[in-house]
Amino acid sequence: MSDKQPVLELRNVDKSFGPIDVLHEISLKVGEGEVLCLLGDNGAGKSTLIKTLAGVHQPTNGEIFMDGELTTFSSPREAQERGIATVHQFGGTYPLMSVGHNFFMGMEPTKGFWPFKVYDREKANRIAVEEVQKMGITRITDGDRLVGGLSGGERQSLAIARAVYFGARVLILDEPTAALGVKQAAHVLRIVNEAKKRGLAVIFITHQVMHAMAVGDHFAVLIRGAIAADFRKGDKTREEIADLMAGGESMADLEANIEGYMETHEGHVPPPAH
């Protein structure tokens, strides 16, 4: 961990729902321009952890610090105002609305004066397309296009670009690559790197070790609500991580042959066969 003040830090956070303990003594920190990968199998408590970070749940015990300051988020809205943006698996987009509308949802630019304030479509579309293109998605050129016509990766990218544009400091990505094809996933990983370059603190939740290895600086493996391992990039091999997550050798063997690609191609997936 760098000497810099972490943007977001959890210290010994517990969360229980009635008699059921979901999270035990979670301590994590993530700094500017850093990607923290949270790895865990289904049911490991990833979702609860995200919701605690995003202000949906309040920790039963323990403390959350933002910029070194003790903080409690009483609502998702409050967490958002402090700069914590969560992008969910399906990107949080509205398929039957335009790119511009999706980008500015809830923050619509207007022109004119009350009571005849109108939604400024040209401005919204222009900014949305610019921002998405800056993130490297050049296929989106028309802000009027409906998001339903975009690929899953493009939707994720749109949601990330939106968070970056509205000044997010911590970006929580909940399984952004889980529902995507290989090529699409690579797309999203590039965007994650782009967000990191811009100095955002990224928390990347996944159960795909391959994707985590491609972008992560720091890794935490979650098993049954507790952090089973916490290490930096290069400290452990892919097999070791997969073992930790699954608790079995077979998993590592299965995935080992795919892994070679990522190592030799700087985290990129192979080009499609022709």
């Binding site: 998702p76 809205r77 958002q80 969560t86 969910h88 949080g92 987009t93 509205y94 398929p95 039957l96 609305m97 509308h101 949802m105 809830g106 923050m107 619509e108 630019p109 207007t110 005849f116 304030k117 109108v118 939604y119 479509r121 040209e122 296929r139 050129t141 028309d142 009027d144 296009r145 409906l146 339903g148 016509g149």
Partner: protein, 351 residues
Amino acid sequence: MTDTTSISNSEPAPKPAPASGGFSFGAFFRSPAAGAFMGFVVVFVVFAIFGFSRNFLSIPGITTWVNFASLVGIIAIPVGFLMIAGELDISTGAVLPAGAMTVAILSGHYELPVLVGILGALCVGAIVGFINGFIVTRTQVPSFIVTLATLFAVAGLTLYLSILFINNTNSFYHAPDWAKTLFGGKVFGFNSSVFWWIGLVAAFYFFLHKSPKGAWVFALGGDQESARNAGIPVNRLKIGLFMLCSTCAAFAGALQVITFNSATSQANFGLIFNTIISVVVGGVLLTGGFGTVMGIVFGVLTLAIVTQAIGFTEIDRNLSFLIIGVMLLIAVLMNDTFRNIATSWSTSKKK
């Protein structure tokens, strides 16, 4: 009434649509109002042909269905808003007579000023809408069931209170001249409600398609969880839409009683079907997230022609329900097609 407004709304400003040339053909087809508009044109032309010798195109022929359309339309557009937001309101069938009876009892029986009666009716609508919205947002009960319950509750209460206050389920009310002109008059055979409807269409159009908050309604129907995460006051907006819907139904009731000088406390179950058919024929997606005000307007007009103007044509009156059934089915099938065209359409080259 033309479709130009809704076309220019979805027309891409920077680049003209490729391949179709000139006026943006693609943008027109992308609009959910397109199907409704074409359906209206087809029905109008067919009825005009069969009704040419039976005064379909005469003033009484036209005013019959336009007057009917205005009362249904005042309610159908907010019902459409709710459908776009992913909810359904069927309590309108009881709120309209409740509004009508409120005016008749307050202004007719108790001889209070007509504005008090109308205001009372609007309050009744707002309260029912608030109850609908409150229950829907606080519980997991689907809005169909909630409003079905309030439909019967309000219908029963209207009957009971009518007997209690005036000892009659029907009532008569003659509004003063100025109020009669404003709310229940006739211009060339068109009722005042037609002009109220036009005004409301303009206001609703502005709200849904021009004002920044219009997009929130679509967001509710598109993905409610994301809308909440984006900071949209989901519950407040939904309650507001339910209140708008019931208030409009009560207002239609007030217009009705002033126009026809009489009110009944019987629930108007036909109105429920009429509003929902209009909205669906108007291109609003049953699952929410898609639709236009102008589409609903054409849906209402089409329904009105088929149900009301059939007497001015040589088509057998009994066929009107059949036509509506077939029309509804075609509309639902077409809406899917239009949605697919809309999502895959791009004004610039895709790859």
